[in-house]
Symmetry: C2
Subunit: 318 residues, 2 copies
């Protein structure tokens, strides 16, 4: 893990550049977590119009989330030599969207989960109505963050509009929402590998691809060839992410993964290990990771964080 | 109702200008409905990734909604001499947001309503999970519409970003979502008139004020004095709208208002007639309407549609 420079990455409120030259990917992720947590904190409401809603929003966002999507944004911006300050709004917005999707997916009418990131899910800690409103408000807040008045340290209007378009398309009726609808419709049914891949490409893949794209936009990149290679990377890595998620649902420990192990099987959900067998699923994750790396073949050392993130995604234990 | 010119308003797909010189407000609203329905139709997903979600989205949006918020946008744009083509994205986006809020507010965990716009609510016609996803997807779609690639007939990037900011702020954790949270928290409790006003200012008022503001942005207006007067108009008219809504919940006919009459009382919700008495509530609506008109005192005849809409809002029977 030597050679992974993140000297441009900052990890505290004053945004002082990190001076370490060599870190492992866990340290890199930790730095991204610290950075995006600080950005999220500055955007959460402070005046208490509804104390319950405000508390529940903080509960659903400021927690032990891995912040993989913000890390992908920062790492993509770095890969293109961009300014990480320009990536902050997108990193924050994507994590707010991810948090909103988890809160809604966990609802009784959806996946009915009671544990998330090692704590009771939002509707258990508060109530269903509050959890619905938390998700709704987090989605609005994500777009508010991206649409904030540009200043010297943020991307220009044209770029921000492209970011909003990218994010909205990724999560809307032709993106994440459709994926969740298909997932629910497939519960307890026998589906093919191809159908499973389509569902995941929408449900989790679109937001991961959007994250990489937002990282590129944050760096001011508009080169179609580079954007295509990054999208190839993101598509493969995004599928690998889901394969590993399914594997962890089987071999993972509830205390480690922070959500209820075996939840997929309990809901009669199709998973990669269920369709392919555990070993083949593990091999598939490895193959997808290799394809992701190949897509970055022509990128220099600045793309190392992206490469290491892809490896982390298929080797993580939570 | 003479003198209400809407010659710039179009009402069909070809956007042919209407040539009528004088119409009543119901015809004006009908024209706005036709116009915004066409715009909404062009933005709804056509490729069926999830047939159920797609159907449910159409069910929740293409219905007998009054389209008062789009009408306010068009009327404000007209009041400032703006181009109605520039107002189409905002009119569409606001109605998508309004539809999303109704679908979520009707959920069992929220107001648990079974009738809306004369039809079974979305979670009754489909199911709860679908209704949650419909709301989520409609919110994303609204921002996607506002962030669409600008063309010659649409506002520029700076203006669109201001629109997104306006809309996101109005519905987020310091706006509509907070209003709904306060509304739920107050169920069955005795609250003061001031608390009721605060709740409604957030729950319905913010989106109405945002509509008028979006109409002004669509017309390219940035004059703080004009924006202030329009906001005064919107704040008074928005409160009048809610007072009339509460009155209709008591004196309205379920078959006419299209939602279950008496629903507020059944949930133990505070209303203006409950706190003030029916007659005082009716007088309050009238007074608010007068204040709304006063805020428009220095606007010329082009603001007549806005004036008539304010009157319609306190005299409507559904």
């Amino acid at each position: 893990m030597t050679g992974l420079k993140i000297d441009a990455l900052t990890n505290n409120a004053s945004k002082k550049p990190l001076t370490v030259d060599t870190v492992d990917i866990k340290q890199y992720l930790l730095n991204c977590q610290n950075r995006v947590n600080h950005v999220i904190e500055t955007h959460l409401p402070t005046r208490a119009l509804s104390t319950t809603l405000q508390e529940a929003i903080r509960y659903a966002t400021l927690n032990a989330g891995k912040r993989i999507r913000p890390a992908l944004i920062y790492a993509t911006t770095q890969a293109l030599g961009g300014d990480l300050n320009h990536a902050d709004p997108a990193a924050c917005a994507v994590e707010l969207i991810h948090s909103f999707s988890l809160v809604h997916d966990d609802l009784p009418a959806m996946d009915n989960d009671d544990l998330r990131r090692g704590k009771p899910t939002c509707h258990i800690a508060y109530d269903e109505a509050t959890a619905i409103l938390v998700g709704d408000a987090l989605q609005s807040l994500a777009f508010e963050v991206l649409a904030a008045e540009p200043c010297h340290s943020t991307p220009n209007e044209k770029c921000r509009l492209a970011m909003i378009r990218t994010l909205a398309t990724a999560i809307g009726p032709m993106g994440m929402a459709a994926g969740q609808a298909i997932d629910l419709a497939c519960e307890g049914k026998t589906i093919t590998l191809s159908q499973l891949e389509t569902m995941h490409a929408l449900k989790t893949g679109e937001l991961i691809r959007a994250s990489v794209r937002l990282g590129a936009l944050s760096a001011g990149c508009h080169d179609p060839k580079i954007l295509h290679q990054l999208d190839e990377f993101a598509a493969n890595m995004g599928t690998a992410f889901q394969v590993q998620d399914d594997i962890l649902d089987i071999i993972g420990d509830t205390n480690v993964i922070g959500k209820r192990a075996g939840a997929d099987a309990a809901l009669g959900k199709a998973t990669y290990p269920a369709l392919l067998g555990l070993q083949n699923a593990q091999e598939k994750a490895q193959t997808l990771h290799q394809h992701a790396l190949e897509a970055l073949a022509f990128f220099d050392h600045k793309a190392d964080p992206l490469r290491h993130l892809s490896n982390y995604i298929i080797t993580r234990t939570y």
